[in-house]
């Protein structure tokens, strides 16, 4: 089952496309990192998946074919929007009560226990909580709905490093609990961030976006296994760029580094060395390639490939 599936999805605001020809399928059972620079279309994609926005082109379904925004979709998705909007004048207890009333399922005991554990007083107004506590409250509300899919849009943007750690710990615990309890498929998580490093440790599925398009999507292990960095003499680089599937090339005076699609078993050209690639390096290479590719109608001196 795919928790989010889009086909040629597009969203236009005025004359600007925030998202274009986006076709991606995020399978269930993963913590998916949706990564890209600011303005890449991450929030737009998540809003479309949550049913907050209507597509200008194409379509999006969630949780195995449910139309985004439909009652069945809303029932299964818990969405924590950017900046975790909440009613500032309502207490944490009221927010629990509110969320319980608005949903078919709500695990009150879990929510109260979690807030006690986090040291968030139930009587405190949501507006008086710190940024970290607000994010924790929003996440607790989302998790207490026992969703099949948890969508978090830039959840860490407002948080300091300790709060980030606590927040991710809560997400991971919830995932583990879901699996342990044998719930239907456990919870799948999709998080967005413009900083890959934040999500690198927790995500096992990566969707890379830039300029309103998906540049790369896949399981992290598969992506790392299918890419290598080749290092060799700069003079001979051009010969390989035609034959190999080069994502991005970086040239120095003497040496060139080519990030290529190749597995460990593929042959390495003579005089070249192959290294495994890190996730950050891989993501940067695709983002750069995407940027150059989008900016350039034809070959340009000094550019990659």
């Amino acid at each position: 089952m795919n928790v989010i599936e889009t086909s040629d999805l597009g969203k236009r605001y005025g004359s600007t496309w925030a998202l274009r020809e986006c076709t991606v399928a995020i399978p269930a059972g993963h913590v998916t990192a949706l990564v890209g620079p600011n303005g890449a279309g991450k929030t737009t994609l998540l809003n479309l998946a949550a049913g907050l926005a209507a597509p200008s082109a194409g379509g999006v379904t969630v949780l195995g074919g449910r139309p985004a925004g439909s009652p069945a979709a809303l029932d299964g998705i818990a969405f924590v929007a950017q900046d975790t909007p909440m009613y500032k004048n309502l207490s944490a207890r009221d927010m629990l009560h509110l969320t319980r009333n608005l949903n078919r399922r709500f695990d009150q005991r879990y929510a109260e226990a979690r807030l006690t554990e986090l040291g968030i007083p139930l009587k405190r107004k949501a507006g008086k909580l710190s940024g970290g506590q607000q994010a924790q409250l929003a996440l607790t509300l989302a998790l207490a709905r026992r969703p099949r899919l948890l969508v978090l849009d830039e959840p860490m943007a407002m948080l300091d490093p300790i709060a980030r750690h606590d927040f991710m710990a809560l997400v991971m615990t919830a995932m583990a609990e879901g699996k342990g309890a044998g719930e239907a498929g456990g919870v799948s998580v999709v998080l967005s961030s413009h900083v890959l490093a934040e999500l690198e440790r927790v995500a096992d599925y990566l969707v890379l976006m830039s300029r309103g398009r998906v540049q790369l999507a896949g399981e992290v292990d598969d992506l790392l296994a299918s890419h290598r960095v080749l290092t060799g003499p700069a003079a001979g680089a051009d010969r390989y760029t035609e034959r190999l599937s080069v994502v991005h090339a970086r040239r120095g005076e003497a040496q060139a580094h080519l990030l290529v699609r190749a597995s460990a078993s593929d042959a390495v050209p003579p005089g070249w060395e192959a290294h495994p690639v890190g996730l950050e390096e891989l993501a940067l290479a695709y983002l750069r390639a995407g940027r150059d590719g989008a900016a350039r109608p034809g070959p340009r001196p000094g550019s990659a490939i």
Binding site: M1, P27, A28, G29, H30, N47, A50, G51, L52, A53, A54, S56, G64, R66, P71, A72, L74, D75, G76, I77, A78, F79, A81, D83, P85, M86, Y87, K88, L90, D94, H97, L98, T99, N101, L102, N103, R104, R105, A138, R145, R148, K179, A184, G185, G186, S188, E219
Partner: protein, 353 residues
């Protein structure tokens, strides 16, 4: 990828039952109780003032009636002046006219505008309840509660203005108003509640369209005012075909729409007579301007023109049409409110963020 996929039997909740409507009861109350309490306090305070003012008005009215029981009583003229001057600022009804639009703008506009302005719609509209149901479950109970509060308040307004409608006031030179007077018509009957309802509905729609609280309130005030003037000026006189009479002694309760004059069966002029005519036939000086709501003054013009072959034709709405007019106005306002609320819900459902 398949390891965690869901067994087929677990997909039964695709055709799930929606969250029951009554769950929104607590939500609406919790989120809007401050508004509802403010409206209650506001109307309550006005009611106390109106009650005290009403007692004054009634005692002044009773005093005038008693003093003028015997004609040429010395106490009569000052008692008349005293009654006509009591709470003069309330007499034309224009101040209470502001109450429905204030309630509607300040209670209606923020319902959606605040959610959109602060971003909380991204919480509320992604819950399992569903956003168009959420909107409907907020707007309808609030609209009903506010209209009901306004209706109760209008009972007091009705009580307050009774002395002005007493038959025979005109003969005593006491203020007598037609129930159709633009300031008074929609303070009584079902008009007050209906206008409050439509103000709330305008506010809700403006909030959805404008998405900011303060501009939405301003837009509501403007749109409501335009609608109220259009209704009072153009629509209301035409709810039913006016009656036409040449009788010069219409009761003060009749609503005079227009007057035209004929001479020898042919049309002469409309409204106020031209100066040339007045100078010729009414040389005792021009009579005062024609009172807008059937005061005694037109009679005096008529008195000097009638002997010269002129006939005054007055088209008017008799006071007996008060309730038909109330139902007509209440009916189209209710229909408009339903339409506006439906449009708001439709926009929420279709809205592209």
């Amino acid at each position: 990828m398949t390891a965690l996929s869901v067994p087929a039997g677990r997909e039964e909740d695709v055709s799930l039952r929606p969250v029951p409507w009554q769950r929104m009861g607590w939500v609406t109350w919790r989120q809007h109780r401050a508004t509802l309490v403010s409206v209650a306090v506001f109307l309550g305070a006005l009611a106390v003032l109106l009650y005290l003012a009403g007692r004054q008005l009634r005692s002044a009215h009773a005093a005038a009636i008693a003093a003028c029981h015997t004609a040429s009583s010395l106490a009569c003229p000052p008692a008349i002046v005293a009654f006509n001057g009591t709470n003069g600022f309330l007499a034309n009804g224009f101040m209470p006219q502001a109450v429905p639009v204030l309630i509607g703008a300040f209670a209606g506009a923020p319902v959606l505008a605040r959610e959109l302005e602060t971003g909380t719609f991204r919480y509320a509209w992604t819950q399992g309840f569903g956003r168009w149901r959420w909107t409907l479950a907020k707007l309808v109970p609030l609209a009903v509660a506010l209209a009901a509060a306004a209706w109760v308040f209008s009972l007091l307004l009705n009580w307050y203005y009774q002395p002005y409608f007493a038959a025979g006031n005109q003969n005593l030179s006491l203020e007598e108003w037609t129930p159709f007077s633009p300031g008074l018509f929609d303070l009584r009957g079902i008009g007050f509640a209906a206008w409050t309802l439509v103000a709330f509905a305008i506010g809700a729609l403006a909030g959805m369209l404008i998405r900011r609280v303060v501009p939405a309130i301003v837009a509501t005030l403007a749109a409501y005012t335009a609608l109220a003037f259009a209704a009072g000026g153009w629509l209301r006189p035409a709810y039913m075909t006016p009656l036409v009479t040449s009788n010069l002694n219409l009761p003060g309760s009749a609503w005079i729409i227009s007057q035209r004059w004929t001479k020898g069966g042919k049309f002469a002029f409309t409204g106020f007579p031209p100066d040339s005519l007045l100078n010729r036939f009414c040389p005792d000086g021009p009579p005062g301007p024609v009172g807008p709501f059937g005061k005694s003054k037109p009679v005096s013009i008529a008195e000097c023109l009638t002997p010269h072959g002129y006939t005054q034709w007055t088209s008017y709405q008799p006071a007996s049409r008060f309730w038909p007019f109330q139902w007509i106005e209440g009916g189209w306002l209710l229909a408009l409110s339903v339409l506006l609320i439906a449009a708001t819900v439709w926009l929420v459902r279709r809205r592209a963020a």
